[in-house]
């Protein structure tokens, strides 16, 4: 499989069809594993790192899940190609900085990505659309079980899986979900939610970090600890908290519709206006306005078939994706022009938002009541 094919296909999780996809963009679970008695990638000399890579890579490629995979040495990828993979969350920023002695193997559907010699010898990640942490774990757990039969994995009876950083020891698992929370942000309730989540030992971050300032109203929530708790317990705890946040987001949206419909109409109208007519746009502005458009689709101001073009723009307007599509290196100013142009073209046939179609429903009652943790 070639890099162009990755560019051409959006990847399963980007299509956003999973459960609770209106609020939960994606679920990811990664496992960190290492070979016994071999220097971790950050400490290994180049020759040892290369040896370890040669030992692991064929074992990963022969997995049934990796038939027709994209498998590449990091040293053979251009800086732009690496950045594209980062923007799709298929490799980490740290891995993108790697060269000789590191590799990435991912499946065609882009639901499974295995980094070799990142911070650990193996970082196996599974991504699903919507809230599907359990099934994401199941997939990566299966891969792990196959690989441990072929590789001598570092494991300690008391400490569990041994990792380069002591913060990952034990399960070596980090489960995270990306949430789209415009309702909570517009209602100024987001900080309260973040604080409550932090209090119970979970981490909240922005899309690619950028401190606590979240772009596009996107937030990632994940477990912080890996020792002393079972994998499925961590995932169940995280899922429960996310379900509570989903409910709070729905409530916030309903309050906006019922009590602040003018503000809401104004936000949506501005987002539509600027996106359809602007000629220069930064990545941050695009994400923030696209987030409002996504909210407008959720609320019914645009018909459901307008969802995919908006979702695609979230990724396609990222700096590396822009440059890869245009086949040239662009400076920031040129990117802003091209970004606005692409958005204008994609939204050319978009009808005006219809605020009369916005549904005034009672908050969904299908979800469990929020735990009393405030």
């Amino acid at each position: 499989m070639k890099f162009n094919q990755i560019m051409a296909s959006g990847g399963e999780w980007l299509r956003g069809e999973g459960p609770h996809h209106q609020v939960v963009v994606s679920s990811r679970v990664r496992l960190a594993r290492n070979l016994r008695h071999r220097a971790f990638p950050g400490w290994a000399k180049k020759a040892e790192r290369t040896l370890i890579l040669e030992q692991i890579k064929p074992r990963v490629e022969e997995l049934p899940e990796m038939q027709d995979s994209f498998s590449e040495f990091l040293s053979d990828l251009s800086a732009l190609e690496k950045q594209v993979l980062v923007e799709r969350h298929l490799i980490s920023r740290e891995h993108a900085a790697k060269g000789i002695g590191s590799a990435v193997v991912m499946n065609r559907k882009q639901t499974l990505s295995i980094m070799i010699n990142e911070e650990d010898h193996l970082r196996m990640q599974s991504i699903r659309s919507g809230l599907q942490l359990k099934s994401a774990f199941k997939l990566v757990d299966k891969i792990d079980s196959v690989l441990e039969g072929k590789l001598d994995i570092a494991y300690d009876q008391r400490l569990g899986y041994l990792t380069a950083c002591p913060t990952n020891v034990g399960t070596g698992m980090r489960a995270s979900a990306m949430l789209h929370l415009p309702g909570l942000v517009l209602s100024d309730l987001i900080n309260q939610v973040i604080q409550a989540v932090n209090k119970i030992g979970l981490a909240v971050r922005g899309l690619y970090g950028e401190g606590t300032e979240a772009m596009g109203n996107l937030f990632q929530i994940s477990n912080q600890t890996t020792l002393g708790e079972k994998e499925d317990e961590i995932i169940a705890r995280l899922t429960k908290v996310i379900e509570t946040i989903i409910e709070k987001e729905h409530d916030a949206r309903q309050v906006l519709i019922q009590k602040k419909s003018d503000t809401l109409s104004d936000q949506i109208g501005r987002a539509y206006g600027v996106l359809t007519y602007a000629h220069a746009m930064t990545s941050k502005e695009a994400l923030n306005l696209l987030s409002i458009m996504k909210l407008a689709v959720d609320l019914g101001a645009f018909s459901e078939d307008r969802r995919l073009p908006i979702d695609e723009l979230f990724i396609d307007t990222q700096p590396a994706h822009l440059q890869k599509t245009s086949q040239q290196k662009l400076n920031a100013e040129e990117r802003d022009f091209l970004r606005a142009q692409i958005i204008r073209e994609r939204l050319k046939n978009f009808p005006k938002p219809d605020m009369n179609k916005v549904a005034r429903e009672p908050a969904p009652k299908s979800l469990p009541a929020p735990p009393n943790n405030e």
């Binding site: 400490w43 970082r123 995270s176």
Partner: protein, 163 residues
């Protein structure tokens, strides 16, 4: 409020976490939060930061002059990188690491997934232990016939474990 790491820029990133009922706070500026990898959604944990800031001293207490026999890693290296050298480092620096892990995590013992290979190893080790006990008993009772059989079984098991 100033950044906890560089102590010169204004902090813009505020992190809190409750660890064993104690609230831990870290305030960072934009530059330091980037450097500390706060923006890596899968890699960052608050404990990681604490590790970089104060916890390196913890490990030093446990192993002032030790060097990992497998990879040559020392506590000075740990202080520099906040990462260990190899899986054996967990044994080498176990004393200092113990208190560190206690601060970082929910518990001090792994209760999750058990690899099949490790599972087999644990089974074999258990079997070995009981054979050794029986052998000791047989020798003490001057039951040399049983002792010889047990020695053979132990030898066989040693081969199995080595595989």
């Amino acid at each position: 409020m100033l950044c906890d790491v560089c102590k010169c820029n204004d902090a813009s990133v505020f992190l809190t976490q409750i660890i064993e009922g104690k609230m831990q706070k870290v305030n960072l500026c934009d530059a330091c939060s980037k450097e500390k990898g706060v923006q890596d959604p899968t890699g960052f944990a608050l404990a990681d930061l604490l590790l970089g800031i104060g916890a390196a001293e913890e490990i030093e207490k446990g192993a002032p002059t030790q060097k990992c026999v497998v990879c040559g890693f020392t506590q000075v290296d740990f202080k520099k990188t906040g990462r260990l050298g190899c899986s054996e480092c967990y044994v080498t620096f176990s004393e200092g690491l113990g208190s560190l892990l206690k601060v970082m995590h929910k518990g001090t013992e792994h209760v999750g997934k058990l690899p099949q290979r490790a599972f087999r190893q644990i089974e074999l080790t258990d079997k070995m232990r009981s054979l050794a006990t029986n052998l000791e008993k047989a020798v003490a009772e001057e039951n040399y016939e049983d002792a010889a059989t047990l020695r053979d079984q132990i030898k066989q098991l040693e081969h199995q474990i080595a595989d």
